[in-house]
């Protein structure tokens, strides 16, 4: 079969991996960010440590720890699941910081207006700060998403058959020059990145009016 088609066949896996990891990160990142801001030391310190370590260790190391390392303790995950868990956890760490940045970007006066009105603190967070915070966080989140798509390429090292895995396979078969194959694979990632970039800029424009900075 045509080598380039084979490489394309890895695309659904790349996309699935990206979407799942991002979803996990987006969901887990929120409580993680809140934990980081908690007043109780016992919650705050582990949360901060977790975020720092998730972001400090290179993704490839995390993937190997989860795939090869956990296997030694009896937990053998499939390559795809290991990659989703690994990239999802890393995403949670990064997105927690993105959310935090979004929250800090909201004008302090918004908080004061809520307090002056006698709004319960929970309501101020939920109805005043959060809607503005996530809109402020969107550009940074989109930038992270683009980085995540590129990071999924690393998953080939633990055997996930996404784009780069197929590309390496074809390169070994010698059906085309490695240069052409790798360039083509690179192009696919580039297209995905650009697509996400364009979508996020459109979304950002539509939300322009809605944040007090």
């Amino acid at each position: 079969m045509d080598p380039f088609l084979t490489i394309l066949s890895g695309l659904p896996t790349t996309i699935a991996l990206s979407v799942l990891a991002l979803a996990i990160g987006a969901l887990v990142g929120l409580p993680l960010m809140l934990a980081r801001r908690a007043r109780i030391l016992l919650i705050r310190v582990p949360a901060r440590t977790a975020i720092d370590i998730l972001r400090a260790v290179p993704p490839i190391v995390w993937l190997f720890i989860i795939f090869f390392g956990l296997a030694e303790t009896g937990v053998q995950l499939s390559p795809f699941v290991a990659a989703v868990v690994g990239l999802g956890a890393i995403s949670a760490g990064y997105l927690a910081e993105v959310y935090r940045g979004g929250l800090m970007a909201v004008d302090k006066g918004q908080w004061e207006a809520g307090q002056a009105l006698g709004l319960p603190t929970r309501d101020t967070y939920r109805y005043v700060l959060a809607p503005q915070a996530w809109r402020a966080a969107l550009p940074a989140a989109a930038t992270y998403a683009i980085g995540l798509i590129k990071d999924t390429a690393i998953a080939y090292t633990i055997g996930v058959n996404e784009v780069l895995f197929e590309a390496n396979h074809e390169a070994q078969l010698g059906t085309a020059s490695p240069l052409a194959i790798l360039a083509f694979a690179g192009l696919l990632y580039a297209i995905l990145s650009v697509a996400v970039g364009v979508a996020s800029r459109r979304l950002d424009r539509r939300l322009q009016l809605v944040v007090a900075r």
């Binding site: 400090a56 190391v61 190997f64 720890i65 080939y156 780069l164 240069l179 052409a180 790798l182 580039a190």
Partner: protein
């Protein structure tokens, strides 16, 4: 589960891993040495009067940012031989990570340069200072100072990216850990130690960068007053 704790034999593993760490740091240093000057050049080129220069710079920057680091590494090591260019894995790694440094770095420099108040440019021109000198002595130094924290942040990310050189056979930290894991069948133990070594470099470095950012923020505010 075996009764041995995760940190058993770490003393034995440490020397090997530290050698790998040294290799990682060397690759990182080389990539920055190549990439940062290039980044400045690309940033300046993006404002050049000649259209070809501008578009060339744009292409290099966008390509460097759009392609995954793993692919750039493999292109440099496995792909280039197709056009008769054979590089050692260290040189290939430096070329690939250097390109990435240049691509992201140029955006950082551009931001820093743009943040220099227009008044600086106008003052220099009013004094009769030529464009080249204006850039060299007024704009670039100030722009670089603003860009410094972000550039240091980039350097930390490049250090993390050196782990990917594992895929082109460079004996850096990740590679050393994997080989050791294969030999001892204690992947969890070895990889955890490797992870800790990465943490030991990245977290203090990030902390220093944050402190620098804060100090510069105050300094800048004081200047503007």
């Amino acid at each position: 589960m075996t009764p041995a704790a995760i940190w058993t034999d770490w003393g034995e593993y440490l020397p090997t891993l530290l050698e790998g760490l040294l290799e990682s740091l060397e690759l990182c240093a080389a990539s920055l040495a190549v990439g940062l000057p290039l980044a400045l050049a690309l940033a300046l080129a993006s404002a050049a009067p000649l259209r070809i220069v501008r578009w060339g710079a744009l292409l290099l920057v966008e390509a460097g940012r759009a392609l995954p680091a793993v692919i750039l590494l493999q292109l440099a090591y496995y792909g280039l031989p197709s056009i008769e260019l054979v590089l050692t894995n260290f040189v290939a790694g430096t070329a690939a990570l250097g390109w990435i440094t240049a691509a992201y770095g140029s955006e950082i420099f551009r931001g820093g340069i743009a943040s220099v108040p227009e008044g600086q440019r106008e003052a220099a021109l009013a004094l009769g200072v030529g464009r080249f000198d204006m850039y060299r002595s007024v704009i670039v130094p100030q722009g670089t100072r603003v860009a410094l924290p972000a550039l240091l942040g980039l350097a930390i990310q490049i250090f993390q990216a050196t782990a990917l050189a594992f895929t082109i056979g460079l004996p850096e930290l990740m590679s050393a850990a994997y080989d050791l894991g294969n030999q001892t069948f204690r992947f969890l133990s070895v990889l955890t130690l490797a992870g800790l070594l990465y943490t030991a470099v990245v977290i203090p470095a990030s902390f220093i960068v944050r402190r620098l950012e804060l100090r510069m923020g105050r300094h800048l505010a004081a200047e503007l007053r």
